[in-house]
């Protein structure tokens, strides 16, 4: 099919697979297809396509839940795309089919809840009737709020001064922002500073409505002037857009799971950020070379994927 587009589904999904494999932390596991005879899993974390670029986020989500005795199954890969990519390309029928495949696929695990980490997935699944599924589909922040008492009992102080970045375009995103703030306020030692310029556009950053550069710069300048150690963001897409600003402004960017992990004593790495802060495709290729060779990937192809995924 001649698409006439700069990107095809193949290039996009192959980038998800390729970069996802290259950046995956040790011990990070997910399934692309739940077996028909799979044992019931109360909680499923949906690892959305672009979240493969920041694999510590779903990995931390699972580890945080394990801290309070809640095991879960991570289901991901392009095989569980919500259909956002097809929506973006205005392939309405493919969007609908893709969304339904993912939503019905989750049922194989007979979950009580399917936990989202991506606002795009929430929007697309919501448009295709996820509320009619036998499980509850919800942003994972809702579960953290449900278990906040248990989380709080295990928290140790995190001595950081932070600014929280957030989105409020609709009620769901407002709720995510409120939940994130409630979770962060529960962490002892954390100083949440009163910023005025931390509101993001759209339902998240990066893909469709990236935060305009002047607004982004203003957010970081304000954070620096307030004496913030970090800007804490609610979504993987915000994290991807903003983490490069560390180079210029010296204010660290964290996904809020990072802060929660610190409070719970969970160690983690941030492979996407580490690569982005190298600030050069060549340097990233060199850093990833052992894994590129181990996985037998074609360097030219990987170089294009790094450019597309990490330096876009």
């Amino acid at each position: 099919m001649a698409t006439g587009r700069a990107f095809t589904y193949t290039t996009m999904f192959e980038t998800v697979r390729g970069i996802g494999s290259l950046l995956a932390p040790d011990g990070f596991e997910y399934v692309t297809e739940i077996p028909l005879d799979a044992p019931a899993s109360q909680l499923v974390i949906h690892l959305s396509c672009m979240a493969h670029y920041t694999p510590q986020i779903p990995h931390l989500a699972k580890q945080i839940l394990q801290k309070i005795g809640q095991d879960c199954l991570i289901v991901g890969g392009p095989e569980n795309c919500c259909g956002e990519l097809h929506k973006h390309f205005k392939d309405t029928e493919l969007e609908k089919q893709t969304a339904r495949i993912a939503m019905f696929g989750f049922r194989r695990a007979k979950p009580r809840k399917v936990l989202s980490i991506c606002p795009d997935c929430d929007e697309v699944f919501g448009a295709h009737g996820v509320e009619r599924q036998p499980y509850q589909h919800t942003n994972i922040s809702e579960l953290f709020i449900e278990y906040l008492g248990e989380l709080k009992a295990r928290m140790r102080p995190v001595k950081l001064r932070i600014v929280t970045h957030f989105h409020t375009l609709n009620a769901a995103r407002q709720r995510d922002a409120d939940n994130m703030l409630t979770i962060l306020r529960a962490i002892p030692g954390l100083d949440i500073l009163p910023a005025q310029h931390a509101l993001g556009p759209g339902i998240h950053c990066q893909t469709l409505h990236p935060m305009p550069q002047p607004d982004q710069a203003r957010m970081f300048i304000e954070a620096r002037e307030l004496g913030a150690d970090a800007i804490v963001v609610p979504y993987h897409s915000c994290y991807r857009q903003h983490c490069k600003m560390e180079i210029q402004h010296g204010v660290t960017v964290h996904h809020y799971f990072n802060i929660l992990a610190m409070a719970l004593g969970i160690s983690f790495s941030e492979p996407f950020k580490e690569m982005r802060l190298l600030d050069s495709v060549d340097a990233v290729v060199e850093a990833l070379r052992p894994r590129i060779e181990k996985l037998g990937y074609d360097e030219k192809l990987v170089r294009a994927q790094i450019t597309r995924a990490i330096f876009c």
């Binding site: 099919m1 698409t3 589904y9 193949t10 996009m12 999904f13 392009p78 097809h86 493919l94 089919q97």
Partner: protein
């Protein structure tokens, strides 16, 4: 293996690209790629994606739903090691295209 050679139409009906065809109750895609005819299932073995909307790179066709990629040169082998795509032998006789489909 016994095959039925099914008449799929005139060769001229299948210019470059992908062409969905219904043969009895079997839906297939007849593809002319790099000047040669290939035939394969119209539904992706992963989740029944529409293979007539595949993206094409040489002799590799990719399902548009999740980009499972099938190499027609290797009989429909899925390149990530997932399930393969069923392909059919194609024969052209006097400008007429026949597919070998199991009864």
């Amino acid at each position: 293996m016994l095959h039925h050679w099914i008449d799929a139409g005139r060769e001229a009906q299948f210019p470059d690209g992908l062409h969905p065809v219904l043969l009895g109750r079997t839906r297939v895609v007849i593809a002319r790629l790099e000047g040669r005819l290939y035939a394969f299932d119209a539904l992706c073995p992963h989740a029944q994606g529409p293979m007539e909307k595949s993206e094409i790179e040489g002799l590799i066709v990719s399902c548009p739903l999740h980009a499972w990629r099938y190499d027609l040169q290797q009989g429909g082998k899925e390149l990530h090691g997932y399930r393969d795509l069923a392909t059919y032998e194609v024969r052209v006789t006097d400008g007429q295209v026949f597919l070998a489909i199991e009864p």
